[in-house]
Symmetry: none
Subunit: 173 residues, 4 copies
DNA sequence: GATGAATGAGCCTTCATTCAT
DNA sequence: AATGAATGAAGGCTCATTCAT
C-alpha cells in the first residue's frame, strides 16, 4: 500500500461519507487526494473497487473490535460492550460508520456480515442471563445498535451519557 | 394534479427509495412513469423539485399520523402508539419511509421536523409516568424508533411480534 | 391581425433584438407577450415564421421611407436624406433596426432588398452632381450608412450632431 | 496548447463566425474539429470559455496591429493605415473579424477595448492636421471603419479599390 | 508508478412543436 | 381563437474509464 494509495482511500472515505457514493465523482476524489485521475483506476480498477477497498479496511477494523467482545466472559459485560460501541465512535471511525450506514439504504440487499455475528454473541449473553426469548432480545439489541449509531452519527444529541444510563438501566447493566 | 403528474411522483418515489436519489436519473423516472422526460421538468421544474414534491406529500401524511398521537390521554398508550409506528409501516408507506431514511444520510443537516415534535410528546408521557429523566428517555424512544424503522425497512426480521413484546416489557406496556 | 398577434410580434421583436434570435425561446416570447405557447404556432406556424412576420412589417415601413426619398429632386437633398436616416432612428424603430443588423451577421447570404435600391438612388444623385465615380461613391454611402447605424444602435456616441456636421462637410451638404 | 486544442479553437472560430455563437452547438464544434465533445469542456471549461479563448487570441493579434499604427509619425499615414485595415482583412483573419462583429450585436454592452485606443490615435492625427473638430472626425473614422468592415465581411463589393480611392480623396490622403 | 489528454455514454434541462380540450 | 399538457430531439455539461507517454 503506497502513500498515494492511502491518500486516495482516505479522500474517498471522507467524500463518500459526506456526500454519498454516487454523488461523488472520481475526479473529485482525485483532486481531494492530490493525485491524477488515472491513478485511481490503476490501483482500484473501478469506482466500485475503490468503495470495496474502503469497506474491506473497515470490515477488518470492525472484526477486530468484535473479536474483543467474544473474549468477554461475563454476559452483562458482553452486552455493555456491544451497546457501548455506538457511544464510542471516535472521530477517526466516524467517516467509516457514516459511509456504512449511508450505503445500507442503497444496497440491493442488506449486508449481514456485521450484524449476524453480533446477534449471535448477544443471544448467547441473554441465554446465559436466563432471558425467556434470547433471540428476540438479541434482535432488539441490534435494533438499539442501529438507532444509537444513527443518533451518534446524525442527530448528535448532547445528553448521550444520560441516554446510556437510561438504556443500561433497562438491562440492569 | 393530472394523472401523469401522479404517475411521475409514484415512479420517482419508488426508484428514489430503492436506489437512492442521486443514483436515479430523470430519464429512468420518466421511463418508469411511462412519460416523456420533458414532462418532469414542466411539472416539477427540477429533479430536486420532484424530490421536494414527494417529501411534501409524505410530510402531510406523517403529520396527520402524529396528530393522532397527540390526542391520546393515557401516557402508556402514547408510548405504545409511538413505538408501534415502525412495526406498522404498510406497503404503501414503505417507499416513502425508505426514502426518508436514505436521505437522512445524504442531507447536509439533519431534518428535525419529524423527530422534534415526537420527542416532545414522548417526554411528556415519561414525565406523567414519573420517570426520573424524561428527556433522556424521550431521546431513547427516538433512538428506538430509528432502530426499529431500520429493521423493518432493511433487515426485515421474521419475529417482529416477539421483538415488540420484548421491547414493550421494558416499558411495562 | 388580432390584438394578441400584435402582442406576440411586439414581444418577439423586442426580445430578438435584445438577445438575438436563437438565444430567445418561443416560450419566453409567449411569456413576454402574455399569451400561451401554442398560440405563437397557430398564428405564425414556426419560430422562423414569427421572425419573417417581423421582418415583413419592418420591410414595409422601410420601403415607405425609401419611397419618400425617391420623390426628392435636388440630389444634395437626396444625399442629405439618406445619410440622415441613421441619425434619426427613433425609439420605436430602434428594436427593428437592431434586429436587422444583428441578423445580417447570421444569415447565410446578405439581404440586398434594402441596400440595392438605396444604392441606385445614391448613384443617381452622385451622377447628377457630376462625381467622377458615382458607383463607388454610392457604395461609400452604403458603407457610411452601415457604420452610422452601428454607431447609433450600439456605441451611441454623445456628439452625433457634430459627427453629422463633419460628415456633411465632406459632401458639401 | 495541444494539437487538439488548436483544432477545437479553429473549428469553433469558423462555426461561430458563420452561424453565430448561440446557433452552434458544442457537439457541432466537436464534430467539425474531429474531437470528442467532452474534450471541449476539459480544455475550455465552458462553451463560453471556448468563446473567450478565441477572443483572447484575436485580441492579441489585433493589439499588435494597433501597436504598429502608434509608431507612425505622419498623421496622414496614420489615417491611411487605420482606414486601410478593413480593406486588408485577409482570409485567415476573416473568421475572427466576422465573429467580433456578430458578437457586438448580441453582447449586453459594447466592448470598447478596440475602438477606444483607435479613436484616440485618430483624434491625435486630426489634431495634428489642424482639423477644427478632431473628436467628431475621429468618431467618424470609427464609423467608417465599422461600415467598411461590414462591407468587406458581408456585402463584399467588387470595386473595393475604387471605394478606397473615393474615401481617401475626402481626406486628401 | 504516475500523469493527464482523450473518449463516449449518460445526465439534467430546454426547446420547438403538436394536440386534445 | 386560445390554452397548456405532452412530446422527442437536442443542448450544455459531467462522468467513469482508457491509454499513450
Amino acid at each position: 500500500m503506497t502513500e498515494k494509495q492511502e491518500k486516495i482511500l482516505e479522500a474517498a472515505l471522507k467524500l463518500f461519507a459526506e456526500k454519498g457514493y454516487s454523488a461523488v465523482s472520481t475526479s473529485k476524489v482525485a483532486r481531494e487526494a492530490g493525485v491524477s485521475e488515472g491513478l485511481i483506476f490503476r490501483h482500484f480498477t473501478n469506482k466500485e473497487g475503490l468503495l470495496q477497498a474502503i469497506m474491506e479496511q473497515g470490515r477488518e477494523r470492525a472484526q477486530s473490535l468484535l473479536g474483543g467482545v467474544v473474549m468477554i466472559e461475563d454476559p452483562k459485560d458482553t452486552l455493555r460492550a456491544i451497546l457501548s460501541f455506538p457511544f464510542e465512535i471516535n472521530k477517526s471511525e466516524h467517516h467509516y460508520w457514516r459511509l456504512i450506514y449511508a450505503l445500507k439504504w442503497q444496497a440491493d440487499e442488506y449486508d449481514q456480515s456485521m450484524s449476524l455475528p453480533m446477534k449471535k454473541i448477544a443471544a448467547d449473553a441473554f441465554r446465559n442471563l436466563g432471558y425467556s426469548n434470547p433471540e428476540a432480545e438479541a434482535e432488539l439489541v441490534l435494533i438499539l445498535f442501529d438507532g444509537l449509531a444513527t443518533a451518534q452519527l446524525l442527530r448528535k444529541p448532547s445528553n448521550m451519557e444520560e441516554i446510556r444510563r437510561a438504556l443500561f438501566d433497562k438491562y440492569y447493566l
